[in-house]
């Protein structure tokens, strides 16, 4: 019993992890016990080998060999006796086992990282695919809402643009169509407000210029004039001039035009 007890402490003794009393007990025992001091020297050798061993990086074929390795390991394991009986079984088996276990650990870790990397690649593709599907779904929902009979629902559709970080041309065109052709003033005005966030688009700019000639609601006219004035769109000057010359243009709309036009030309 005593022997075994000290053998169990040897690895920690070598690593300097024992407290003083344990250390003195082990050292006292080692002087008396040949088998234990022999064990100690064997352990020292083993530790040295471990230190000299270079870290191996697992290669791709590790995965394919994995199951064969497991089979091999199983057969070996059945022959091997547990670590507690090492001293009885002999030193060579003991060190072999330890090395095999170390190899298995390295193998497992390697397979883990290999698998993880593979999985990340796959899930990355899946996420991209899902994002595409969500985008398509949102687009369908938005277009269908904008075709609804109820003005409130069409406005909901127009506001749906907030769900898109980078709306494509189809959506922008559908919004421009609502702005130019919807029978309800609130839908057209909401479309103007929403589109004023996308003045970098040529489609949007051209629709605004077109709306200057077709839109009869003074509230919407003023909003469009302000947006075009802000981005100093030179192409809008002719349409603004046209609106300014119309008899039915409201005086406050003309005022707005007169204040914006000089900055554009």
């Amino acid at each position: 019993m005593e022997k075994n007890h000290v053998i169990e402490l040897l690895p920690e003794y070598l690593d300097g992890l024992l407290n003083k009393t344990q250390k003195t007990t082990v050292e006292a025992h080692l002087k008396d016990c040949n088998s234990c001091s022999h064990e100690l020297s064997e352990l020292k050798k083993l530790f040295k080998v471990f230190k000299e061993e270079k870290e191996t990086t697992p290669s791709g074929n590790l995965k394919t060999n994995f199951f064969e390795q497991i089979e091999l390991e199983k057969q070996n394991n059945s022959k091997v006796v547990s670590l507690d009986n090492v001293s009885v079984q002999g030193k060579n088996n003991w060190t072999n086992n330890l090395l095999k276990i170390a190899a298995s650990v390295v193998l497992l870790v390697g397979v883990y990282f290999f698998g993880k990397q593979q999985q990340e690649q796959i899930s990355g593709k899946e996420i991209a695919h899902l994002a595409d599907e969500t985008q398509a779904f949102k687009q369908t929902a938005m277009l269908s809402l904008m075709g609804n009979k109820s003005a409130s629902k069409r406005i909901q559709g127009v506001n749906f643009i907030e769900e898109f970080s980078d709306p494509d041309e189809a959506i922008v065109s559908a919004l421009a169509d609502r702005m130019l052709n919807d029978e309800n003033t609130n839908v057209r005005r909401t479309a103007v407000e929403v589109l004023s966030e996308f003045t970098a688009s040529e489609t949007v700019k051209n629709s605004f210029i077109k709306a200057l000639k077709t839109e009869k609601d003074p509230g919407i006219q003023i909003t469009i004039i302000q947006v075009l004035g802000k981005i100093q769109e030179k192409k809008a000057a002719a349409s603004m001039q046209y609106l300014l010359e119309q008899d039915d243009t409201q005086p406050y709309v003309k005022e707005e035009l007169e204040s914006v036009l000089p900055n554009i030309i």
């Binding site: 409130s152 406005i155 909901q156 609130n186 005005r189 909401t190 609601d217 509230g219 003023i222």
Partner: protein, 254 residues
């Protein structure tokens, strides 16, 4: 005793006569009732599942028009109460043919009916709507104002020159409420616990509210600056957009 019975009978007979003068129309398969008018128009709810247009003494034809039909811009009187009513798909078009205010034309509909009311009069042509639970669209295209009471939305209201007053009993969270005007003021009353995403904007007018809208630089909650305000109240909910060009906005907590 006999005299009382005769009087009663006479009274009943009279009331039946009066009732017969109302115009009624079934609403089977009708999704939207679209009312158009150049004069003031009042839309109310009733317990019947049909459209009823109240006949008013003042809506009677002048003596000289006996045997003749009233012609309006959008059709001829097919109701005997001065309206032209026609089905178009699942819409029911109800057009007021008179151009002057004939003692307020009143239309009665079930409370859950979706209605769209448009006035286009050069004179005063106000829209008044009371107590609907369905969707409401109201457009006062020229000089009329809009008053909508005891409704739950969604409401889509627009006016050119008239003001818009709306008081909500609750807010339907299904789809957005928009109230826009060019020159009119907006006066909107909501229950204090309404969850909503507010978007308020006035180009030249002011915005007033007693909802707690947080502004870093403004103190007090009386005037909350002009231009655009986006805020959530009571944790956020359906979108509520109030916009004017030249009018003020008053948003009240009930």
């Amino acid at each position: 005793m006999k005299r009382i019975q005769i009087t009663l009978l006479a009274l009943i007979f009279c009331s039946i006569l009066a009732a017969q003068e109302d115009y009624t129309q079934s609403l089977d398969g009708i999704e939207w009732v679209k009312v158009e008018s150049k004069a003031d128009i009042i839309v109310r709810t009733h317990g019947e599942k049909q459209l009823r247009i109240k006949a008013k003494a003042s809506s009677k034809k002048p003596e000289k028009a006996k045997g003749l039909k009233l012609l309006g811009a959008g059709g001829s009187d097919n109701t005997d109460v001065g309206f032209y009513v026609v089905k178009e798909g699942n819409n029911l078009i109800v057009r007021n043919l008179r151009k002057w205010n004939n003692g307020n034309a009143e239309i009665y509909l079930p409370a859950n009916q979706n209605i769209s009311v448009t006035t286009n009069g050069t004179g005063q042509s106000d829209i008044r709507i009371y107590g609907f639970k369905g969707e409401i669209e109201a457009n006062a295209r020229l000089n009329g104002g809009i008053k909508i009471e005891d409704v739950s939305g969604p409401v889509t209201a627009n006016s050119l020159n008239g003001g818009i007053d709306i008081s909500f009993v609750e807010i339907n969270q299904d789809s957005p409420i928009t109230v826009y005007s060019t020159n009119g003021a907006l006066d909107i009353k909501l229950p204090g616990d309404t969850p909503a995403n507010l978007s308020l904007g006035s180009v030249n007018g002011e915005i007033y509210t007693n909802f707690e809208i947080k502004f870093p630089e403004k103190n007090g909650l009386k005037s909350v600056s002009t231009q655009k305000i986006r805020q959530t109240i009571n944790g956020g909910g359906v979108k509520l957009q109030l916009k004017t060009t030249n009018g003020n906005i008053y948003l009240r907590k009930e």
